[in-house]
C-alpha cells in the first residue's frame, strides 16, 4: 500500500506516453499525469456513487441535500480552475514568447506526402523560394531560387537532425494542403498551413531518434507521411552539417 502510494507521488509521467526527450516535456508529462489522476478519481467516485444507488433497493423519500450538491459543484469548479491556470502557464511559456536570440532556425515544409527540413547554412539566412520553381525530380523540392545568394548554402534534408541541448525555432510551412507536424517524443504539435509560416520553438535534450508524424489528414498518403528526428551531440551535428554543406558545394562546382 505504502509503496503504491509513494510510486504515485513520485511518478512523473504517464507510463503510456512515449519517452520524453525535450526540455519542457517533463512539465507536460507531470501535468498530464495529475490531470489524468484527477479525472480518473472523479470518474471512479461517480461510478461508486452509481453502484451504491443501484444497490439501495429501499428508496428514501428525502431529497439529496442541496448544500452538498452545490459543495460538490464547487469542488469541481476549483478543479477546473486549477486545470485552466496550470495549463495556461505552460501554454504561455511555450507559445506566447518567441525563442531566445541564440536559437537555431530550421524550416519545416510539408507536402503530399513528405516532410522536408531546410537549414539556413553558415549565413544563417534562408534563401528565397518560389512555388514556380518547385521540382522534386530535379532535386529542388522546395523551389529554392538559385539567383538568391542567401539560398546557396541552404541544406535541405528529409531527416531532422538537431543538436542536443540547443534551442531550435522551427518555421512550419506547407506547399499544398494542411499537414499536422507532430513529434510525440518532444510533446510538440502544430499544423503546417499553406500560406502561413508558423513558429514553434523547443529544446531537444536527450539524444536519440524520434518519429515525426502527420496528424492532419492530408490525402491518400497521410498514414505514410512520416519522418525522423535525430537528436545528436553538438559535435556530431556540426560534422553532419559540414558534410551536407560540402556535398552542396561539390554539386554546385559540378554544375
Amino acid at each position: 500500500m505504502y509503496s503504491a502510494l509513494s510510486l504515485l507521488l513520485t511518478a512523473r509521467h504517464v507510463a503510456w506516453m512515449p519517452p520524453d526527450g525535450s526540455l519542457r516535456g517533463p512539465i507536460v508529462d507531470r501535468l498530464m499525469f495529475w490531470n489524468l489522476i484527477a479525472i480518473v478519481a472523479a470518474a471512479v467516485i461517480a461510478h461508486l456513487w452509481l453502484i451504491v444507488a443501484l444497490i439501495r433497493r429501499r428508496s428514501t423519500s428525502r431529497n439529496f441535500p442541496s448544500p452538498v450538491r452545490w459543495g460538490l459543484v464547487g469542488v469541481f469548479c476549483v478543479m477546473y480552475a486549477w486545470m485552466a491556470l496550470t495549463a495556461q502557464r505552460l501554454w504561455a511559456a511555450n507559445r506566447f514568447t518567441g525563442p531566445s536570440l541564440t536559437a537555431m532556425h530550421v524550416e519545416v515544409v510539408g507536402e503530399q506526402f513528405q516532410w522536408y527540413f531546410r537549414y539556413p547554412g553558415p549565413d544563417a539566412t534562408f534563401g528565397a523560394t518560389r512555388p514556380q520553381l518547385v521540382n522534386a525530380a530535379a532535386g529542388n523540392p522546395l523551389g529554392l531560387d538559385a539567383r538568391d545568394p542567401d539560398g546557396k548554402d541552404d541544406v535541405v534534408s528529409s531527416v531532422l537532425v538537431l543538436p542536443a541541448g540547443h534551442e531550435v525555432d522551427l518555421q512550419l510551412r506547407s506547399l499544398d494542403v494542411i499537414h499536422g507536424f507532430f513529434i510525440p517524443g518532444m510533446r510538440l504539435k502544430e499544423n503546417a498551413v499553406p500560406g502561413l509560416v508558423l513558429h514553434l520553438h523547443f529544446t531537444p535534450e536527450k539524444p536519440g531518434t524520434y518519429p515525426i508524424l502527420c496528424t492532419q489528414v492530408c490525402g491518400m498518403g497521410h498514414g505514410r507521411m512520416q519522418a525522423r528526428l535525430m537528436v545528436v551531440s553538438p559535435a556530431d551535428y556540426t560534422v553532419w552539417l559540414d558534410k551536407r554543406e560540402r556535398a552542396l558545394q561539390q554539386q554546385e562546382a559540378g554544375e
Partner: protein
C-alpha cells in the same frame, strides 16, 4: 409593428364618442395586449383570432434569424478575406484586395428598394383596418383587397425594378473587367453578396405574386392577412439586409 387590427384616426373618432361609448380598450396600437376574452384559458388548444397570424409570423421570424446568420457568415468572411495577404520573397506583406468601385446605379437601386418597403407596408396596413375587417365579416364586400392590391402591385413592380437595376450593375461591372470568374476577391464578394441577396429577392417576388393572387383567391380573411403580413416581414427584412450589405460594399471596400 401593427397587427391584426389597427384603427386609423377616423375610426377612433367615430368609435370613441367621448361619453357613453365602449369602455376604453387596453389594446396597444401594435395589436398586442389583452382582448378581454381570455383566449389563453381555452383548453382545446386554440389561441384566439390571431393564432394563425402569430404562428406564421413566428415561423417567418425564426427563418429570417437563420438567414441573418448566413449573411453574418458571409460578411465576416468578407472582412477576413480583406485582411489576409502573404509575404513575398522580400518579406513584404502583400495583400491582393483591390477595392471595387461599386456602380453608381446601386444608389438608385437602394432608393427603389426602400421605396418598395414603404409601399409594402402600406399594403400590409390595409389588411388590418378594423372597419374593413368588420365590413367583410358582415358580408359587405372586400374593401381591404381593393385597397391593398394596388400597393402590392407597386411593390412587385419596384422589386422587379430593383432586380433589373442589380442586373445592370453586374453588366456594368463585367464591362469594366470585374467578372465573377476573374481573380479579384472583392469582385467575388460583390457578385456573391448581390447574387445571394438577389436570389432572396426573387423568392420575395414569388411571395409577392403569391400574396397578390392570394388576395383575390383566398376565401378567409385570416389567410389573406397571413399571406400579406408574412411577405411584408420577409420583404422588410430583405430591404434591411440590403441596406447593411450596400453600406458594406460601398464604404468598407
Amino acid at each position: 409593428m401593427p397587427a391584426t387590427f389597427t384603427r386609423n384616426q377616423v375610426e377612433i373618432e367615430r368609435k370613441d364618442p367621448g361619453t357613453g361609448g365602449k369602455p376604453p380598450l387596453d389594446r396597444r396600437p401594435t395589436g398586442g395586449g389583452g382582448d378581454g376574452e381570455n383566449w389563453g384559458d381555452h383548453s382545446d388548444g386554440h389561441h384566439g383570432p390571431r393564432e394563425l397570424l402569430i404562428r406564421y409570423r413566428l415561423g417567418v421570424i425564426f427563418a429570417l434569424a437563420g438567414d441573418l446568420m448566413f449573411f453574418v457568415a458571409l460578411v465576416s468572411a468578407f472582412f477576413v478575406r480583406q485582411s489576409t495577404g502573404h509575404f513575398d520573397v522580400h518579406d513584404n506583406y502583400i495583400n491582393d484586395w483591390r477595392p471595387l468601385a461599386v456602380p453608381t446605379i446601386l444608389w438608385l437601386n437602394t432608393a427603389v428598394l426602400i421605396l418598395s418597403g414603404v409601399t409594402m407596408e402600406m399594403a400590409r396596413r390595409q389588411l388590418f383596418r378594423e372597419i374593413d375587417v368588420m365590413e367583410e365579416w358582415l358580408g359587405m364586400g372586400r374593401p381591404a383587397v381593393k385597397r391593398a392590391a394596388p400597393w402590392l402591385g407597386a411593390t412587385l413592380a419596384l422589386g422587379l425594378m430593383f432586380l433589373a437595376g442589380q442586373w445592370i450593375a453586374w453588366v456594368q461591372l463585367a464591362h469594366e473587367g470585374f467578372r465573377f470568374m476573374s481573380t479579384d476577391p472583392s469582385s467575388h464578394f460583390f457578385y456573391l453578396i448581390t447574387g445571394i441577396h438577389g436570389l432572396h429577392l426573387v423568392f420575395g417576388i414569388f411571395a409577392l405574386a403569391g400574396a397578390l393572387i392570394g388576395l383575390f383567391t383566398l376565401k378567409k380573411i385570416e389567410y389573406r392577412q397571413v399571406a400579406v403580413d408574412c411577405t411584408a416581414w420577409y420583404w422588410h427584412t430583405m430591404g434591411l439586409f440590403w441596406v447593411f450589405l450596400f453600406v458594406l460594399l460601398e464604404f468598407f471596400q
